[in-house]
Assembly symmetry: C2
Amino acid sequence: MKRQELVENIRRKRSFLCVGLDTDIKKIPQHLLDTDDPIFNFNKAIIDATAPYCVAYKPNLAFYESLGVEGWIALEKTIKYIKANYPDQFIIADAKRGDIGNTSQMYARSFFEHLNVDSITVAPYMGEDSVTPFLGYEGKWVILLALTSNKGSHDFQLIEDRDGRRLFENVILTSSKWAGPDEMMYVVGATQGKMFEDIRRVAPRSFLLVPGVGAQGGSLEEVARYGMIDDCGLLVNSSRGIIYASNGHDFAEAAANEARKLAEQMATLLA
Amino acid sequence: MKRQELVENIRRKRSFLCVGLDTDIKKIPQHLLDTDDPIFNFNKAIIDATAPYCVAYKPNLAFYESLGVEGWIALEKTIKYIKANYPDQFIIADAKRGDIGNTSQMYARSFFEHLNVDSITVAPYMGEDSVTPFLGYEGKWVILLALTSNKGSHDFQLIEDRDGRRLFENVILTSSKWAGPDEMMYVVGATQGKMFEDIRRVAPRSFLLVPGVGAQGGSLEEVARYGMIDDCGLLVNSSRGIIYASNGHDFAEAAANEARKLAEQMATLLA
């Protein structure tokens, strides 16, 4: 999906919500466990209920891999289901991959050719040749980790170099030489608040994928205040706060409610 | 596998070789493509041929994931095969994972409980809470990226902080507070040559997983000269140089030859 199409979807739906499909077999409603494919059936219900309120889905690969082969089958079915029924949704494989060139190439093949998602999250530690194999696929995106939402983000991402530039700033400045804002986004945690100003200084035109609203405690208002640009430039993700809003038979309805609440806030912020 | 057992295996076999199972369907001998499970059959033959000369196997997850569900089946079969037939081999899932706490926990479950490998490679960018969920599993190891073998390692890993400490040194120093050398190793590329001296200054007792000998051009002698410690402290990996030594019906024999040559060099270096 190209940037223009993504922006049009955001404007039409008045939402920049991404729903995170962190589907955990231990957390989904009991009654689904007796069905043929609990993970996929859960996802399908969540997707059907939330699609009007979001512009993107982000399956978190860890949750599928933890189930081995079965998990991969559920993941592939989920992605096919979204593409077939909601082709205007932007799909993010939250995989945080990154390896030497020939290996990243295999991952690119896996995610962009085999699974055919729109984007993949990539870890920057190994540098240029670990990232560039993901570039150059028409309409596909790399979403590079910059300043993450977790506590550990302080361990290395904030280390200042001799010129006072922090590692996340170096990651953005260096990687912006590899790809422009039409095929690279950055992950910036909603928990980082005013730091979005610093991010916008080095990434004025990039889309940001923003996890950490909801269960992790980030503020949507702050993110929009400091991070929003002309064409929005934000995809804000909520996972647990939406998909586990209820544990009963009404889980899909409850998820739709939470997604709608966020979308309503977003409509105001976009106006 | 505990450190003592690993060291005993190295001494008994007089080898610290790790064979990288970067199995690519596009590179394996033609005649295997007609069998029921080409990837597994290739791995099985390579393992049977090389097991006398190595102490570890390192399947590279990207190569399996790129095939989707089929790839995961081949990976699971490969790991089970090694555990059943060569229980003294140390198995490394080369996955380079690392995510927020609850996600890393899922990965830990996936790799240590489901696949039941001995170790997993982890990327440090997201800091402490992305790494610690992998710790505390009896006999299991985290292998953290420090100074990788690729060209892009220079992009961020060598950035000096205000005190002149480079990022890879900060990664080692900080992470050594999370776990000791009995459950954490570091990835250091064989292409880094004399930098092993700098590594040993900050990680005097840690085992190092060393990729980059062979196809990537690293020197085994240099690695041993600057990196070896009392109980060896090295696992040197070769992937392409061994497993693709021949493309014909003699591929397993050719792989054994390459592995034996490296093991012979290693025996000399250990002596």
